[in-house]
Amino acid sequence: MPEISAPSIVPDTTKEEKTKSKDRPDRGYLVICWNDPVNLMDYVTHVFQAVFGWPKARAERHMLQVHQTGKSLLVRETFEKAEHYVHQLQGYSLHATMEREE
C-alpha cells in the first residue's frame, strides 16, 4: 500500500477474534486481507470500518498489519459469513480471501 499519511496509532485494547470451538464449531473460516502496493492506506482503513463496523483504531491496526507483514487475519467466521465478508471486501477491490482454518 502506498503511504499517503501516517495514521495515528492508538493502543488496541480489543481482544483478537478467538473461537470457542465447543460453542461455535463451525467458525473455521478465516477472512484474510493481503497486501498489495496499490490500495491506499486510508482507503483500506475506511473499508475495514465500513464493512466490519470497527472503530478507527482497530481498522488502522489491521491495515498496518497488512502493510507491514503482508496480510492480516480479519475475522474467523462460519462459511456463509466469511463468504459474505469476502464479497463485501472484494466489492471495494481489496485483495481478500477466505481460507479454511487448519
Binding site: 502506498p2 502496493p37 490500495n39 491506499l40 463468504e83 464479497h87 472484494q90 471495494y92 477491490s93 481460507e99
Partner: protein, 159 residues
C-alpha cells in the same frame, strides 16, 4: 477538490460537499468513463486452487458482475444528469454526494485504480525501477494516479 464541512441537519441523511473546479470536474468525469476496469475473473474467493472452479467462486464472480452493472447504471445517471451531482454555488462549483453515493464513488474509483494497476502488470509501486511507459500503458498510469487523487480527496471527508 476540497471537502467543505457542513453540519448535517439530519444525521441520517448524510450529505458531503466538495469544492471542485471545472478542470477537476472534467478530469473526474473522464476517469469515471473508464469504469469498469477490473474484470470479473480477477476475483478469487480463496488462495486454495481447489476452489478455483467451485460454485462459490462462480457466485463471487456473479456477485461482482451484478455490483458492477449497478454501479454502471448509477454512472450513466451521473453522465446523463451531471447537475444532480455538480452544482453551482456563489463563486464556486460543488460536488454534492448524498446517502450512499459516497461509498459508491469510492468503490468505482478504486475499481479504476486497481484495474489500471493490473493493466500495468501489477508493478511494485514502492520500488524502483520505474515503469517503462509505452503509448499503450501510459493511460493506465494516468487513470491509476488520478483515481487515487480523487479517492484521497473524498477520504478527507471521513477523517
Amino acid at each position: 477538490m476540497k471537502f467543505l464541512p457542513n453540519p448535517a441537519k439530519d444525521p441520517a441523511e448524510r450529505t458531503l460537499i466538495f469544492q471542485i473546479d471545472t478542470r477537476e470536474e472534467a478530469l473526474l468525469l473522464a476517469v469515471l468513463r473508464l469504469y469498469p476496469v477490473i474484470q470479473n475473473s480477477h476475483h478469487h474467493l480463496s488462495k486454495d486452487p481447489q476452489r478455483a472452479g467451485s460454485s462459490e467462486q462462480r457466485l463471487l464472480e456473479e456477485s461482482m458482475a451484478q455490483q458492477r452493472a449497478a454501479h454502471r447504471r448509477k454512472l450513466d445517471e451521473l453522465f446523463l444528469k451531471p447537475q444532480r451531482f455538480f452544482k453551482d454555488a456563489p463563486g464556486e462549483r460543488r460536488l454534492v454526494l448524498k446517502g450512499d453515493q459516497f461509498e459508491w464513488l469510492l468503490q468505482v474509483l478504486n475499481d479504476i485504480r486497481v484495474g489500471s494497476w493490473v493493466k500495468l502488470g501489477c508493478p511494485d509501486l514502492e520500488k524502483a525501477p520505474p515503469l517503462e511507459l509505452t503509448r499503450a500503458n501510459a493511460r493506465y498510469l494516468h487513470s491509476m494516479d488520478l483515481s487515487g487523487q480523487f479517492q484521497m480527496a473524498l477520504l478527507e471527508a471521513v477523517k
